[in-house]
Structure formats: structure tokens, C-alpha cells
């Protein structure tokens, strides 16, 4: 007897909880699109994965410099620290540009003036891929697209970088 009673109450308990969770989820579904639609600021802040790369804007010059930082990456069950790098400089219009160093041919890491024969260019050590200072691939070398650019933001005089944005074929 008391067994049966317990079962009922367990089922009820499950019912309550599931309705509760379901309701909560439904509310979430309802709320989030509205929030996103009316409040673009909220949407923007979800790009909060921009990381402070530890470089003051004042230290950025016309000469590309390599910076390294690391970000936490959640990949399925695993959370790990992955290292990122970028080449950062100020272009002729005084805009900050941060290139991903990943070669668009097969992915090796390019270096600014990485070859003495090719000053004022990025150089890929793997198959002599080259890019001009503005990231455009040098025709006739293996890469077929310009270097990717990092999404960026300046906060309190510090540079923040996010995801890479491909620049398309050139």
C-alpha cells in the first residue's frame, strides 16, 4: 500500500518537474528571439569571446609584430587552452589590422619578412607562399586567397581579438 502511494507521488513529482523544466525551456525559446530582435546590444555581447591579447594600442606601429595569446576552448566535453597568434600593424589609414598567420595554401604559419629575399612581405616557409603587407597573396605563389583577418575591438586602449574572418578569393 504504502508502496503504491509512494509510486504515485514519485510520478507526480516527475510530472511537476518535467512540466517545470519544459515550461522553463519554452519560456527560454520565447524570450531569446525577442530579446535578440529588440536588443542588438545583447546579441553583440554574445561575441564576448573577444580576448584581450595583452597589447596596448599605443604599441602598435606600421611594422607588423607577432603576438601570441591563448583562449579557453570548449570542444564537446573538453575544455582546453588553445594558443592563437596574429600579426598586428597599423595600415596607411592608421587602422589597426590583425592577420591570422595561417597560410591559405595548406596552413603553415607565415612570418613577416620571413625570407631575406622577400622584404616587406609575409613569407610561408613551407612552399614559399607570399603575401603583401596588406595581406593580399602574391600571384604566382601557392596561396590563392589573402590572409584571414581577426575580428577586433579596442577597449581601454587594449586590443581585443575574436574569430578570424576569411577575406575571400583574390
Amino acid at each position: 500500500m504504502s508502496d503504491e502511494k509512494q509510486q504515485v507521488s514519485r510520478r507526480q513529482f516527475l510530472n511537476y518537474t518535467l512540466t517545470g523544466v519544459g515550461g522553463f525551456m519554452a519560456a527560454g525559446l520565447l524570450i531569446s528571439p525577442i530579446r535578440m530582435a529588440i536588443d542588438p546590444v545583447l546579441k553583440g555581447s554574445s561575441g564576448g569571446d573577444l580576448a584581450n591579447v595583452g597589447l596596448s594600442v599605443d604599441d602598435i606601429t606600421a611594422d607588423p609584430q607577432r603576438i601570441d595569446w591563448s583562449v579557453d576552448q570548449v570542444d564537446g566535453w573538453y575544455e582546453s587552452e588553445v594558443s592563437r597568434s596574429a600579426w598586428v600593424y597599423k595600415n596607411d589609414n592608421d587602422e589597426i589590422v590583425a592577420f591570422s598567420p595561417v597560410c591559405k595554401h595548406l596552413g603553415c604559419i607565415v612570418s613577416w619578412e620571413g625570407s631575406e629575399q622577400h622584404p616587406n612581405e609575409y613569407f610561408c616557409p613551407c612552399h614559399d607562399g607570399r603575401y603583401y603587407k596588406d595581406g593580399t597573396n602574391v600571384p604566382g605563389t601557392p596561396p590563392l586567397a589573402p590572409l584571414d583577418v581577426y575580428e577586433q575591438e579596442v577597449k581601454d586602449g587594449m586590443l581585443f581579438l575574436g574569430d578570424v574572418i576569411p577575406q575571400g578569393e583574390a
Binding site: 604559419i109 616557409p125 613551407c126
Partner: protein, 153 residues
């Protein structure tokens, strides 16, 4: 590139560009407590180092899973086994087969090896994830990348 399916599929399409093998030679042993500490730490550092090199040179270099062997074994008996591995790799057009290790005993066997041996002294391992350690390993990655590039020229 690494020993995973997606990379190997890419390799088969682009063989002419990927001409270098990187094979870490990593001793293991469990019989002695103090030694396990040392060799497991070295294996961790080697893994970070090898992955760092692979990241820099991924479009031309294939990092293979470790070549493991028992620390207590007579290393001369490993030479033949390692060479067998190498002969298999050479069925593909790899012009440069590079072994990388902290185990100095390979140095004495270098002449009998088919591939190039990159022996480097083990970094004294403090806290592996400390800033200092990361800087040291990053330096070591840079230097090793230079060495591998010098084989290419």
C-alpha cells in the same frame, strides 16, 4: 598534419606538398616510481613540442603517433624496428624523415638510422603549464622549426 582521418584524406590529395615526417621517439617504463615521474613528464613536454612544431609547419609536415619503446631496453635492438617503420613511410614520397627525441641514447646509434635524428636535451620540467615553461617550449618550437627548415633548403 596529424595521424587522423581528415588529415590523411587531405594528404592523399596533396602528396607533392607534404614531404616531411616528424616522429617522436618516446621511452616509457612503469617499474620504477622515480623514473615514471621523469619519463611521463618528458613525454608530456614532447607532446607539446611536437604539436607546436606541427602547427607551424602543418602544410608540409606529418606528425605521426609516438614511437614508444621500453626505457630499459637495449637501444641497439630498437634500431632495426625503427628502420622498419621508416621503410614503410618511404613507400610514400617523403623526402625528409625526422625523428625527434629527448633520449640521448639514440645519438650513439645515429649512423645506423635511416632518417634524421633531432636530439635535444630534455627541459628540466617544473610546472608544465607555468608561464615560464610555456615560454621555454615556445622557444624550443621556434628553434626546431628552424632546424627542420634547414633540411628543406
Amino acid at each position: 598534419m596529424k595521424w587522423k582521418r581528415s588529415d590523411l584524406q587531405q594528404y592523399v590529395q596533396a602528396k607533392e606538398y607534404i614531404d616531411t615526417i616528424l616522429l617522436p621517439l618516446v621511452p616509457i617504463q612503469l617499474s620504477n616510481d622515480e623514473e615514471t615521474d621523469k619519463y611521463s613528464a618528458q613525454a608530456e613536454v614532447m607532446s607539446i613540442l611536437a604539436n607546436g612544431i606541427e602547427k607551424e609547419l602543418t602544410g608540409r609536415t606529418m606528425l605521426l603517433p609516438n614511437y614508444n619503446y621500453l626505457k630499459t631496453v637495449d637501444i641497439t635492438t630498437e634500431v632495426q624496428r625503427l628502420n622498419n617503420w621508416t621503410v614503410d613511410m618511404q613507400q610514400q614520397p617523403f623526402a625528409h624523415i625526422t625523428y625527434i627525441t629527448f633520449d640521448s641514447r639514440w645519438k650513439k646509434e645515429e649512423k645506423g638510422l635511416i632518417g634524421n635524428l633531432l636530439w635535444m636535451p630534455a627541459v628540466q620540467t617544473g610546472e608544465i603549464h607555468s608561464k615560464e615553461m610555456q615560454r621555454i617550449i615556445r622557444d624550443q618550437v621556434g628553434q626546431t622549426v628552424e632546424l627542420i627548415r634547414s633540411y628543406w633548403n
